[in-house]
């Protein structure tokens, strides 16, 4: 199960054209794989192309080169996402999401099976909708029959999964705190039962103690639901704690990929070394065993 590849990114490039005759290579021939049930971390400073990769994977940007191949799971589960006409397509189990034709053919399935959580939860939740509507909306769009009776019950179930209780259902995003809003975004993404969850700096704008809560939640949910998880962050310590494997991005290039333990014990690329050295680490000691206050 663990060695089966879910997402294969091959020589992905993306260029921006901020002005005439000006070209910025945001992502330059990046290749990596995400296996099923794995947490893959991407780290790098701002401007290194982390978010661009996430956007390419989610088909928000059309990459200027390379392939992103998404391997779909068993056919039984996918049946609901196809018309009868597309029986032949159903058999295909790898989809290049960068190919517009192929993307269009599998659009519904892809949109459901890949979910993203953004950094700024206040701008990714519709301020005019209640939390209940926000979580139920993707299910409505995808015509997913609610397993738990009604969409409202479904919304409440997923909110509970994300560590919130039903009392927020009738509230608006502006009434919630940052940590709570991020939990709503997580609930909304998980309600679609994704195979791939992409989180673009989900904890960067939260407080230290809330960050710990959200990281625990990610780990627990990942264990429970077994989705693959692409975790993008600039906080190396969070990545070390969460991820199985880590890729280090530097100016659009992937300079190092390694299992997270190896990467932190023995960073090879000079950039990884500087990055590891610049984390402000407080050396601290909690009280000794047997100490009283």
């Amino acid at each position: 199960m663990k060695d089966e590849i879910l997402l294969d990114v091959q020589k992905l490039s993306h260029k921006f054209f901020p002005a005439r005759k000006m070209e910025v290579k945001a992502v330059d021939e990046v290749s990596f794989q995400i296996r099923r049930g794995e947490i893959f971390g991407l780290v790098g400073e701002s401007g290194s192309g982390k978010s661009t990769i996430a956007h390419c994977i989610m088909n928000i940007y059309q990459p200027s080169g390379g392939k992103i191949i998404f391997y779909t799971g068993n056919c039984q589960e996918r049946r609901g996402f196809f018309n009868k006409k597309d029986m032949a397509v159903q058999e295909a189990n790898s989809i290049d999401v960068c190919d517009p034709k192929e993307f269009r053919r599998h659009r519904r399935m892809l949109l459901a099976k890949r979910q993203i959580i953004f950094q700024d939860s206040s701008s990714s939740l519709n301020p005019r909708k209640k939390i209940r509507e926000i979580i139920a909306e993707p299910m409505k769009i995808q015509h997913i029959a609610p397993v738990r009776g009604s969409l409202c019950a479904e919304a409440e179930y997923w909110l509970n999964q994300a560590g919130l209780d039903g009392s927020v259902l009738e509230q608006y995003p502006s009434e919630l705190s940052g940590g709570q809003r991020q939990r709503v975004a997580i609930a909304r993404a998980l309600a679609m039962k994704p195979e791939l969850l992409v989180a673009d700096e989900p904890i960067a704008s939260l407080d230290v103690s809330v960050q710990a809560q959200i990281m625990n939640l990610f780990l627990q949910l990942q264990k429970e639901h077994g989705f693959s998880f692409l975790f993008i962050a600039h906080d190396l310590l969070a990545v070390k704690f969460l991820c199985d494997r880590v890729g280090v991005l530097w100016r659009g290039k992937l300079v190092e990929t390694a299992p997270s333990k190896e990467l932190f014990e023995n960073p090879c690329h000079p950039y990884t070394k500087t990055l590891a050295a610049s984390i402000p680490v407080p050396h601290f000691r909690l009280r000794q065993e047997g100490d009283v206050w």
Partner: protein
């Protein structure tokens, strides 16, 4: 007097449509010249309000309820805007979190630094002003300032913008610099550079810095002394060593334990249960009691005073009282 700044029993509250929000409650601290004090706490605990109160930059809805702010022994609590103008920039200045919001996007940065120089040092010729501005920008680590002075803020990177704001803050040779989360918007590598710059300048110019942050790692890197704030109160204060190696308040311990650095990968991080209380309706007794695993009965009745642990180390928790039961402290 060696105390440059002394704040005593300061309370600040905001008038909101929902009622009175107590942002800062009975805060006392002091600052010696040439010292770095880090104020650490979660968002909404009143760290920024504390800085802005000393600078008198609060909105009209805020009210200073009690307390005194002594600068070199003079109380400035009753100062009007006119008197404060003379102090700002010369005695203390401030660096904010988002440099793009503090810089004017339509004026070259060199001119903005020069403007600050012009205000603080009267009687200089235009040439001298620009020379001084260039000097300030070089001081804060901007490479070839004579070239970069002509640039606009949007052409600068986040780190360079923060350096520019720092140059402006230093224009009046302040004795105290308030830095309100200056590195939050930056990524780790740049953050480390900016922190090193702060430390270097602080030593070179011998100024005192009040560094507001929510990141204990940042505080460890820069601070001599640390004050931990929770729900508008300073709950523990001590030197950096005392806070990191001998924390006494359960909240400080909770913050330290929730850091991922020494946690077992894929294990479970410690989290402080519950949410911080709203400043509109603070509970009776210790505001931290309902989240505290070690809460005693008295925590729900009466607020704990500051208990002295050493000359520099104080913590506000009833657990330090002589009559408290001897509970085992968390350890790793």
């Amino acid at each position: 007097m060696s105390e440059l700044l002394e704040v005593k029993d300061l309370s600040v509250s905001f008038d909101t449509p929902q009622g009175e929000a107590q942002a800062v409650r009975d805060v006392s601290f002091s600052l010696k010249s040439g010292e770095v004090l880090a104020v650490v706490g979660e968002s909404g605990c009143g760290k920024s309000v504390l800085c802005k109160t000393v600078m008198k930059l609060l909105p009209p809805s805020a009210k200073i309820k009690s307390g005194s702010i002594l600068v070199n022994g003079t109380d400035i609590i009753g100062y009007q805007e006119r008197d404060m103008c003379k102090l700002r920039g010369k005695l203390f200045s401030m660096v904010f979190q988002d440099p793009m919001a503090s810089l004017n996007p339509s004026i070259p940065v060199g001119k903005q630094v020069a403007e600050a120089v012009k205000i603080h040092q009267k009687g200089l010729s235009k040439k001298e002003i620009y020379k001084r501005a260039e000097e300030l920008m070089r001081l804060t680590g901007i490479a070839c300032p004579e070239e970069h002075m002509k640039w606009y803020p949007h052409q600068f990177s986040g780190g360079m913008r923060q350096r520019t704001v720092m140059a402006i803050a230093l224009a009046g040779n302040p004795k105290i610099v308030f830095a309100d989360e200056p590195t939050t918007a930056l990524d780790v590598a740049v953050q480390a550079q900016i922190l090193d710059m702060f430390k270097k300048l602080q030593k070179k110019l011998g100024m005192a810095v009040v560094f507001v942050t929510h990141d204990l790692g940042v505080a460890a890197r820069i601070a001599d002394r640390i004050a931990v704030m929770y729900a508008g109160k300073i709950v523990e204060t001590g030197t950096a060593e005392e806070i990191f190696y001998d924390a006494r308040h359960p909240y400080t311990l909770g913050l330290l334990r929730s850091l991922p650095m020494y946690a077992e990968p894929k294990g479970e991080l410690y989290t402080i249960p519950g949410m911080p209380p709203s400043p509109l309706s603070l509970p009776k007794g210790d505001a931290f009691a309902c989240r505290n695993e070690y809460a005693l009965k008295i925590d729900y009745e009466e607020e704990p005073p500051m208990f002295c642990i050493s000359d520099t180390h104080y913590a506000a928790t009833w657990l330090l009282d002589k009559r408290a039961p001897k509970l085992p402290a968390p350890y790793r």
